[in-house]
């Protein structure tokens, strides 16, 4: 029985991405790590996403607080708003929303950059210069996204909670110290650690997918657009799949 063409293509792509990921681990184990380029990528990925992540986080906290107030008020549980918002943001919404933002910003950026380098023969030029382009371009970017996405998520979580604090103060009056106390009292390690841990996988997936799409792009300039576009789509999908797996594993380990 022959599988439909679409299924064949999807399976072939999963195979290609797996091979690409395996090559990443192989190249990591070989000497001459491109330290300078790695730090440059960390700066580019982190610094350039900071503003977007901050605004997203702030609005997220603000909107969640404003939207949840009427429901909480119906149950006379307005005092619980900081705790409820903190758990929602730290455990789930913060990591996932920021990872999706990063998939859009960083994933597409990497896909377009490497795709453009591929079609303008810059990757070939690098190879001719005696440089391993996979190590220089892919390994450094994947490590940079793996380490920078968690940092961006932590940063966004703080900004988000500050947004929530401001939203609480729109109707009521509460001090920052009291708000912080409520947040800290409700949060446990089982809320923070699994959520933090999964962000490394989000970052890794965004880096691998962005690099894979760019590095293997073809069809000239049209391919660059396709690489950027499909990097966002596939990386976003991967974020949800990883999140689903993370929730299942956390549940199995009894950390819910």
């Amino acid at each position: 029985m022959k599988l439909p063409l679409g299924t064949q293509r999807t399976l072939a792509e999963i195979g290609d991405i797996s091979r690409f990921t395996w090559r990443f681990f192989q190249e990591c184990g070989r000497p001459k790590f491109e330290v300078q380029e790695f730090f440059r990528q960390c700066f580019m990925i982190g610094n350039r996403s900071l503003g977007l992540v901050a605004i997203t986080g702030f609005i997220l906290g603000l909107v969640m607080t404003i939207q949840s107030r009427p429901t909480m008020a119906q149950f006379g549980a307005e005092d619980w708003i900081p705790s409820m918002v903190a758990i929602s943001i730290i455990r789930e919404i913060g990591p996932v929303v920021i990872a999706l933002i990063c998939a859009g910003k960083i994933g597409s950026g990497i896909g377009a950059e490497l795709g453009s380098m591929k079609v303008t023969e810059q990757i070939d030029a690098m190879e001719v210069s005696g440089t391993n382009p996979f190590k220089y371009l892919v390994v450094t970017r994947v490590w940079a996204t793996t380490l920078m996405v968690p940092i961006l998520v932590i940063f966004a979580d703080f900004i988000s909670l500050y947004g929530s604090y401001l939203a609480v103060n729109m109707r009521d009056v509460t001090s920052l110290a009291l708000f912080t106390q409520q947040v800290v009292e409700i949060l446990e390690f089982s809320d923070v650690l699994p959520a933090f841990f999964k962000t490394f996988f989000f970052g890794f997936a965004i880096g691998v997918i962005g690099c894979y799409k760019g590095y293997t792009s073809s069809k000239g300039t049209e391919g660059v657009g396709l690489a950027a576009n499909s990097a966002v789509v596939v990386a976003s999908l991967m974020v949800f799949i990883i999140d689903l797996l993370a929730v299942q594993i956390t549940d199995l380990l009894g950390l819910t």
Binding site: T120, E121, Q122, D124, A125, M126, V128, S129, G130, N132
Partner: protein, 253 residues
């Protein structure tokens, strides 16, 4: 105008030799039993129609593509049998000028030129690297562009910077992939002059891929015609002009 004298038969040393090369893409057999020699100090132009496999040939020579069969001897080493380290070592002695220039968009001109030096000349001090970068830029007449980005340069300037980057390691063999394609006649002439200047200053042996007859006439010591995947004819520009076969005549009319 710079002119070079073709080497005489007696001092001809083969620096690059291609033997029985086969390369195909699916059912498209691009190179079929292709043979070629490059002699020390000469400019050999490989002439052929678009899509005839000229660029594939030099990409096989530099190791960017892998032929199905055949042998490529570059400076007495068979490229096909080399491992990654040996190939990198060989590439320090062979320069490649890409058709699209392939300048790194995210780097300044200085960083572009420093890139191969940092890879292969790790023992060089900062001032030595700077001197080499400036020397390469002066040779192509663009020292003032050192801190500019590639996007700020014209097509001709980008081509010259790409040539400067290729020449910074002072390779013995140069491979030019359609160096004048897409340039206006005046800029093409400037690039042709630079090719001759490189040959004279660095004593390079070069394979120039082109179908620009101005470039062929101006730069070639010898011309090889690639037709149907084979080296159909070779000789001086004047010899091929008088060739009786219509496949050769078509290029020179």
């Amino acid at each position: 105008m710079l002119m070079t004298t073709p080497p005489t038969i007696s001092d001809r040393e083969v620096v690059l030799e291609v033997r029985h090369l086969y390369k195909s893409f699916g059912d498209n057999h691009v190179l079929k039993d292709f043979n070629l020699e490059l002699y020390r100090g000469e400019n050999l132009v490989v002439l052929g129609k678009s899509g005839s496999g000229k660029s594939v040939l030099i990409k096989c020579i530099i190791g960017l593509m892998h032929p199905e069969q055949g042998e490529i001897q570059v400076l007495a080493k068979n490229v096909i049998g080399l491992n990654k380290e040996q190939l990198d070592q060989m590439r320090t002695r062979v320069g490649f000028l890409f058709q699209s220039n392939a300048l790194y968009d995210s780097m300044t001109v200085r960083e572009n030129l420093e890139f191969p030096l940092r890879r292969h000349g790790r023992d060089k001090s900062h001032s030595e690297v700077n001197d080499l970068v400036m020397e390469a830029l002066v040779n192509v007449g663009l020292p003032h562009t050192v801190d500019m980005m590639p996007s700020e340069l014209s097509g001709g300037m980008r081509k010259r910077i790409a040539l400067a980057r290729t020449m910074i390691l002072k390779p013995e063999i140069m491979l030019y992939d359609e160096p004048t394609t897409g340039l206006d006649p005046i800029t093409s002439r400037e690039i042709n002059d630079l090719i001759l200047k490189v040959q004279e200053i660095y004593k390079t042996s070069s394979i120039i891929i082109s179908h620009d007859m101005g470039c062929v006439k101006y730069t070639a010591n010898r011309v090889a015609l690639l037709v149907d995947g084979r080296c159909f004819a070779s000789g001086s520009y004047a010899d091929l002009q008088k060739h009786p076969d219509s496949a050769v005549k078509g290029f020179f009319q």
